[in-house]
Symmetry: C2
Subunit: 302 residues, 2 copies
């Protein structure tokens, strides 16, 4: 099975490295294209791919499985491009998949473009980007959500499942709306909360930092670091995610705001806060905030 990549940064590069390391999977990475070509050239030098393609059409020619490994907005553009290629460039039996963090808008666009599309979302990442941060074990034991489009055939789905398993991931079948609601909860709304926290303390865009920030920033420790790490990620990626999952994220942010209102009321209670009640609530939260099954082994790069 011949695999081509459109996009070869952290995620695409990690998939390509996993495929190259797994001969049993019989998935051959043939070519990769990115707008600037840096990732593919590095991957060629590292022996991870066979060919640096000059354009998307050259990359997908003859491929059985095309992996769009790009941020959400670029993924939409590449779907449109694949849908408008002259007959014969993209094989009739070719399968197209992606790895973007939102799925509803993307799967609908692929359906509109007439592609045999199976949306994918491997649930792992780092705050680094680019092929240089890619590693073959990024997806080991992680969920990989698989969401077939309207024109997907059984063998298209099986190919994407094979891709996920070759990376060591567990496939999870979901519909796009369920996926987008779930990722809004555990990933996309938390990104906005991290950004809002920075803005509240260090100043909103277009406004100067508040006077208190000058001292506060000198005292910041690991709590601040962790609560703002998502806000130090790739801004274009984050904007693309939020732009393609706006309603679901906004709904969860309303829930966060409601809970903040409850906390503000508790902290401003007449006679002062009730420490026992605060403790009881924090104990419930602690018990409801389990860590993900597997993430501790991965070193935090930030």
């Amino acid at each position: 099975m011949r695999v081509a990549f459109l996009g070869l940064g952290l995620i695409g590069g990690s998939i390509a490295r996993a495929l190259r390391g797994d001969r049993a999977a019989e998935l051959a990475v043939v070519a990769a294209w990115t707008p600037r070509g840096e990732g593919p050239r590095a991957a060629l030098a590292a022996g991870v791919i066979d060919e640096v393609a000059d354009d998307p059409a050259a990359a997908v020619a003859g491929a059985d499985l095309i992996v769009i490994a790009a941020p959400p907005l670029a993924t939409l553009q590449l779907i449109d491009l694949l849908g408008s290629l002259p007959d014969g460039v993209l094989g009739r039996d070719a399968t197209v998949t992606d790895v973007a963090s939102t799925k509803g808008v993307i799967v609908r666009r692929a359906d509109a473009a007439g592609l045999a599309f199976v949306g994918g979302h491997p649930m792992a990442g780092r705050e680094t980007s680019g092929f240089g941060g890619a590693s073959a074990d990024l997806f080991v034991d992680r969920p990989w959500v698989v969401i077939p489009g309207r024109a997907a055939r059984r063998f298209d789905i099986e190919r994407v499942e094979r891709l996920a398993r070759a990376c060591g991931a567990r496939t999870v079948a979901l519909d796009a709306a369920t996926h987008d609601a779930a990722t809004a909860a555990i990933s996309h709304a938390p990104l906005v909360v991290a950004a809002a926290l920075v803005e509240a303390m260090a100043g909103a865009p277009g406004e100067p930092p508040p006077e208190t920030w000058k001292v506060a920033r000198t005292l910041a420790a690991s709590g601040w670091r962790d609560m703002t790490r998502l806000a130090r990620g790739d801004a274009a990626m984050g904007a693309g995610i939020l732009a393609t999952n706006g309603p679901a994220v906004a709904a969860r942010l309303r829930d966060v705001r409601d809970r903040l209102d409850a906390w503000i009321a508790a902290l401003e209670a007449v006679g002062g806060p009730d420490a026992r009640a605060l403790q009881a609530d924090l104990e419930v939260d602690r018990d409801r905030a389990p860590t993900p099954d597997r993430d501790a082994p991965r070193p935090d790069p930030s």
Copy 2:
């Protein structure tokens, strides 16, 4: 200089270990008391202290410097207890300090108790607790805020500064209100934000988890882990911090809520979110969210 501890968990234990390891500092840890005695017994067995005290009075007898190393509410109780000891138990020249995360309420209470008190706040921690997690290098290169009470003499302040330096920390002189506003921004409000995030996604106390949580929790990765780590900390400690810094924390939570409202409006804009504007805002946030100078070397225990 003879140092006694009331409380000997992660923070007190780390200070005691640092003192024992630093002969040049000439600070001798003589005794420690905690309600259950577990930390002092472990410290005695490890050769970190000379004596396990049966009660607070026995611990402080003959000490030059008393370190109250307890959560905020227990710190208030110990201040009251020290203030009510019979004449002569606490030496006239004895200095009392603490390590709690809030300072205004505590320094005022020590002033009311008539203690020669210098409030302290070493800005480091872990999500572990207890003497077992203590390490001599916890405070190396970290800020240690020093806030003298009304009855503090110059030598009281110098003793606490010596204590901080013996732990490798940098002393920072602040008034209590400035400290409490700054820590509300970088530590206490973020704790509530983490709790509110858990409650919004996994269910508020007293309510069942939302239906969406069942799927969402299975997809959680490092972003969710980091954004909720503070909510997995010591609930009694967190409640004590919030109960003694309520107004400052509530003020900053209102700022967070205002920023969330702005994000909700942007995500629900007529015609869909403006990806370029979202990206521009996220770029500002990224540049305004620096990591603390020194925290990367410390392994994350959670």
